[in-house]
Amino acid sequence: MFHLFRASGLALVAVAGLAAQPAFAETPGEIQASIQQEAAGTPGFQEFSAARGESLFKSKHANDWSCASCHTDNPAAPGKHAKTGKVIDPLAPSANAGRFTSPKKVAKWFKRNCNDVLDRVCTPQEKGDVLAYLLTVKK
């Protein structure tokens, strides 16, 4: 009986330890650098531009939604999902320290959201432009 307790205690400690470990924490700057690496290899690559990123972010493309439809015109403010009404935490790293710290999460949402807005994936150039813009947004 006692061994069982000890074993479960150990297992729980191990699990708690794992859960506390943030997966692949990076900074927005590091994420931007890896997008840059990817973009630099593509034809027609230009230095990332916050102005281009802002215009992509705020205008409509193939579909009814722009990025701003859910993230609002001010990415430092909380957004709201255009369809479900759920509140979305601010997207700008200045207002939300958790943003652009997990490459996996960033890739997942760029894929989904670009699909929703442009009906295709975003190019590395476009992702870099958007992130450049988001990094200039002050709280």
Binding site: F5, S8, G9, L12, A19, H81, K83, T84, K108, N115
Partner: protein, 163 residues
């Protein structure tokens, strides 16, 4: 070694009983639908909307939904294969008709379990519980959609639907 872990283990056991007892108490009331406890499921299924309680739909519904996340009510909610398997396992294990779970079954009144309904908001019992909600309230800009449970049920994230 034994001595160091003993108080910890006892603490966990106390916590465990507390959770079980509280769980029973809450399950006794008929407004409680246990919220999602798995952090991965909560993150993946709670980012676009409230992470709906698994006990609101039967296992067949979750299996069908998880088989087509690419086209999820018009949205792309897909995740990698491992994550999909993990989420499916959790939802199915905690579904309305899982094990001897009786309290979750009340929303399923009048639903053929095999019919795999995809919307909680189309279950006959959900519709009848909400028939008194006036039209203007559904159209209120804070509500947007029937699926925005938290707009009206402020305790929905915690599993309570009694207000």
């Amino acid at each position: 070694m034994n001595l160091t872990y003993r108080p910890l283990a006892l603490g966990f056991i106390a916590l465990f009983f507390f959770v079980v007892v509280m769980g029973r108490v809450q399950a006794g009331g008929n407004h409680f639908y246990a919220p999602i406890a798995d952090p991965v499921v909560k993150e993946e299924c709670g980012s676009c909307h409230l992470a709906f309680a698994p006990s609101m739909l039967p296992a067949s519904s979750w299996q069908r939904m998880m088989g087509n996340l690419k086209n999820h009510f018009g949205d792309d909610a897909s995740v990698d294969a491992d994550t999909t398997a993990r989420i499916t396992r959790y939802l199915v294990a905690n579904a309305a008709d899982a094990g001897d779970r009786r309290y979750g079954g009340k929303l399923l009144k009048g639903v053929a379990l095999g019919s795999a309904p995809q919307r909680i908001t189309e279950l006959p019992k959900w519709v009848s519980e909400h028939r008194k909600v006036p039209d203007w309230e559904w159209r209120h800009k804070e509500v947007r959609t029937k699926a925005n449970c938290v707009a009206c049920h402020t305790g929905a994230e915690q599993g309570y639907y009694d207000e």
